[in-house]
Amino acid sequence: MAWTREEMAARAAQQIRDGFYVNLGIGIPTLVANALPPGMTVSFQSENGMLGIGPFPYEGEEDPDLINAGKQTVTEVPDTSYFSSSDSFAMIRGGHMDLSILGSMQVSEEGDIANWMVPGKMVKGMGGAMDLVAGAKEVIVLMEHVEKSGAPKLVTRCSLPLTGTHVTDFVITDLAVFEFTKRGGTLVLKELAPGVTLDEVKAKTEAKFEVGLS
C-alpha cells in the first residue's frame, strides 16, 4: 500500500531534529506540522515575516494582520517573532533555516527541482520557492511519485522550467524515500512504503538511482 498524504507527511516529520527551524511549503508539506513527534522544540517559519507559527485560530478569533505564506489565518506561539520580508529572506538566503520541505512537479536525478511553471499554462509565480531551495541547509521534496497521467516525476532531466539546480537532499513520495549522497550527487533509494516493491518503483521512476535499502 502506498503511503497516504498524512503518512508521507509523518515520514517527512521523521527527518526533523529537535531544535530545527523549518519552512513548510503549501500542500502536503503543511501536514508535517501536525505529525511531529511529541517533546521536540521546532519552530516553523513563514516567509511573509513570522517565526514561530501556532495553530489556526478558533472561529471568530481570526486576525487579518496574522497570516501565513499560504495567506491562511494563523496564531502566535509564546516565542513568536515578526519581521520584514527582507529580514525573512535574509534568514532563508543566509543559510539560517535548517530545513525546507516543499512540493514539486519534477525532481531530476541530479537534484534539480521544477515546481513553479508549466509552459503554456498561466504562470502564478515562484513566490519564495527559489530562495528556499537555494538557501535552506536541507531541502526535502514531498510529492506524489507519478503524475495523474502516470508519468514519472522523478526524471532524468526536468522538462519544466527549473526552480533550482542540485538543491535536493531527500525525496519522499507515496511509494518510497530517496536520498542524494550529496548536493548534485547520486540518488539512492532508501526505503519503500509498506507493500511497495522495488520493481514497482523502478517501473515508475525515470531518474537513475541506486538501491540502498536497509
Binding site: 513563514s46 516567509e47 511573509n48 515575516g49 513570522m50 495553530p55 489556526f56 485560530p57 478558533y58 472561529e59 471568530g60 478569533e61 481570526e62 486576525d63 487579518p64 494582520d65 496574522l66 497570516i67 501565513n68 505564506a69 499560504g70 495567506k71 491562511q72 489565518t73 494563523v74 502566535e76 515578526y82 519581521f83 520584514s84 520580508s85 527582507s86 525573512s88 529572506f89 532563508i92 538566503r93 534539480d112 498561466m122 504562470v123 502564478k124 509565480g125 515562484m126 513566490g127 519564495g128 520557492a129 527559489m130 530562495d131 537555494a134 538557501g135 522550467p161 527549473l162 526552480t163 533550482g164 539546480t165
Partner: protein, 237 residues
C-alpha cells in the same frame, strides 16, 4: 516645521501621481495593504503604472481595483495566482509581468532604498530568472547579479505613526512595507492610528520618520481576509 500629516488619502497623493510612474505597494496578499491610498490612486486616475508589489490583490480588492480600472501597465511581483482578471489581461497581452523570486524582490527593494545598485544572490541560478543576467562564482558557489529598485512613489501601510512619521507595524502586516518605505522617492503611509510625537517608544520604532513624507489616517478599511482558516474548539487537546 515638518507637516507630514494630510487630511485624507486623496489630498496626500494629489499632485504626486502621474502617468507612467513606478509605484511600490506594500502588502502580502491582502495583509498590510494601504486600502485608502490604493482607492485614491484609482480616483486620481494615473495610467500606465508599473507596480512593484509581491502580489496583485484579488479581482475586486487591493491592487485588483487598479487592474480593473486599466491603470496598470506592468507588474513586478513574485506570485499572482489569486487573481482571475490578472490572468485574463496577461493572456490577452494587455499587461506586462516581471516575476522576481520573493526574496530577490525584497532584497532589490531593500538595496534600492539603501543606495546599493546591485547584489549577488544564489537564488535563481541556473533558472530562467538568471537568463541575461551576469553570474559570478564566489568560493565555488554560483551567484546571479540582481539590481536595486527605486520607485517614484511608495504607498505603504503601518499600524501606528507619530506625526514625525515614525512607524510601527502590526504582526505579519509588516511584510514588504518597511523596505518600500525606504525605496520610494516619495513615501506615503496609511496608518490605523496617529499619535503625538513622544508617544511611541523610540526603542521600538520599525521605520524611522526620515523615510516617510506623508501620513494619512485610514478610514473605513475593510481589512479583508483572503483565506479564513480556523479550528473548532473541541479539537483542542
Amino acid at each position: 516645521m515638518r507637516q507630514k500629516v494630510y487630511p485624507d488619502a486623496k489630498s496626500a497623493l494629489e499632485g504626486i501621481v502621474s502617468d507612467g510612474m513606478m509605484v511600490m505597494a506594500g502588502g502580502f496578499g491582502l495583509c498590510g495593504i494601504a486600502e485608502n491610498l490604493i482607492a485614491a490612486i484609482r480616483d486620481l486616475g494615473p495610467k500606465n503604472l508599473t507596480v512593484v508589489s509581491n502580489n496583485c490583490g484579488v479581482d475586486d480588492f487591493g491592487l485588483g481595483i487598479l487592474l480593473a480600472n486599466g491603470q496598470i501597465k506592468k507588474m513586478i511581483s513574485s506570485y499572482v495566482g489569486e487573481n482571475k482578471l490578472f490572468e485574463k489581461l496577461y493572456l490577452a497581452g494587455d499587461l506586462e509581468l516581471e516575476f522576481n523570486p520573493q526574496g530577490t524582490l525584497a532584497e532589490r527593494i531593500r538595496a534600492g532604498g539603501a543606495g546599493i545598485a546591485g547584489f549577488y544572490t544564489k537564488t535563481g541560478y541556473g533558472t530562467i530568472i538568471a537568463e541575461g543576467k551576469p553570474t559570478r562564482e564566489f568560493n565555488g558557489q554560483h551567484y546571479v547579479l540582481e539590481t536595486g529598485l527605486v520607485a517614484d512613489l511608495s504607498i505603504i501601510k503601518a499600524w501606528k505613526a507619530d506625526k514625525e512619521g515614525n512607524l510601527v507595524y502590526r504582526k505579519t502586516a509588516r511584510n514588504f512595507n518597511p523596505m518600500m518605505a525606504t525605496a520610494g522617492k516619495i513615501t506615503v503611509v496609511e496608518v490605523e492610528e496617529l499619535v503625538e510625537i513622544g508617544e511611541l517608544d523610540p526603542e521600538n520604532i520599525h521605520t524611522p520618520g526620515i523615510y516617510v513624507d506623508r501620513i494619512v489616517v485610514e478610514v473605513g478599511a475593510e481589512k479583508r481576509i483572503e483565506k479564513v482558516t480556523t479550528r473548532k474548539r473541541e479539537e483542542v487537546k
